[in-house]
Symmetry: C2
Subunit: 183 residues, 2 copies
DNA sequence: TTCCCACTGGGCAAACTTGCACGTTGGGCA
DNA sequence: TGCCCAACGTGCAAGTTTGCCCAGTGGGAA
């Protein structure tokens, strides 16, 4: 983390592109949004958009990617001798504790997904990549290769299920659903 | 005027540096402000400051420079057959009409000048350069070389005098003082 | 079908910003 | 007086953004 003006500017434009993409997608529907309109909304050239994202879907899901990477970091921050399942549960709890103020953009993003199967392809690809990283992180904690993969897959699946469930039953907090799902 | 993202960003940086410089100079005094602190306040590197301004004084007076350049443009916008003095008067009136919402930063800037003679050197240099440009603009309107220079000099001097007077006697508007001074 | 056109992805050079390094300067202190 | 050091100005290479370019794609009209 260099934290000089250069890095700050770079992630600022990336964030601006993501937020513009998400806002426009929610506003007009994901299909009626052009890369150019996103770039304009972020006060950046179309070319610069391509420097950051391979397509509008990637820009829309950038927030999700950040969230997943944060989860990975939290897992890595767990003590190295912690058993795999404990580390995963604690990391998930920590992630939810960080974002207790429920990010409305993220909720909107989730709802956006439901009606647009084309977007889901990118979503699962992103999750698959993170899943591999997550499994790799579990090896050093005493899980063989297969068990690592299974744990990572089921863990993320449980998270997704709890989130989906929460969107339909907001009567309890997301944290509660997640805790229950992980048990 | 290209008005693409690049130009917008560039003048935004310049403006941010100017405003940071002015704010810090008013806050701590012009002598106790370093180039680095200005750059930090504008979220820009020290090197970038040097790419825009030769020194902190230039950054502080950038607003003045913009104002003078705007005056020059207004003179150029006057009909080409308008006699020199009329064009000058009308341009000054137009400039005042544009900035009727009295820019508090500009007022503060003027007050800042009064206690710091070192800053005045830069100020007069800037005015001298504009004065030459202004004189050059008067030639095509039927004034010989000497008369152009005299007109430009007296015109700017009258503006400065009216402004100074207004700072001490804010009981009438700047526009009124200027109109009176130019007559 | 064929043509047209908006949208897209990406190569390329130029512009802008940045980090680093180096030499200079001017004020404070031993 | 001589030394030290913060602030400054600037050359240079690398990173980022931009404008312009061209080729590929897909959907709609002739």
């Amino acid at each position: 983390m260099d934290n000089g003006p250069r890095e700050r500017r770079k992630s600022a434009t990336r964030l601006a592109l993501h937020q513009a993409a998400l806002r426009l997608a929610l506003e007009h529907g994901p299909d009626r949004v052009t890369v150019e309109s996103i770039a304009d909304a972020a006060d950046v050239s179309r070319r610069t958009f391509s420097n950051h994202f391979a397509g509008k879907e990637e820009a829309i899901f950038y927030g999700d990617l950040l969230r997943l990477r944060r989860l990975l970091d939290l897992v890595r921050e767990r003590p190295a001798d912690e058993p795999p399942r404990t580390a995963l549960t604690r990391a998930a709890t920590a992630l939810l504790a960080e974002s207790d103020r429920l990010d409305p953009a993220w909720v909107a993003q989730r709802r956006l997904l439901r009606g647009h199967p084309s977007l889901i392809a990118h979503q699962v690809a992103a999750y698959a990549a993170v899943e591999r990283e997550l499994a790799a992180e579990l090896g050093p904690r005493g899980a063989d290769e297969l068990r690592s993969k299974v744990l990572a897959a089921t863990f993320l699946a449980a998270l997704r299920a709890a989130t989906r469930h929460w969107l339909e039953h907001p009567d309890r907090t997301l944290a509660e659903w997640v805790t229950e799902a992980l048990s």
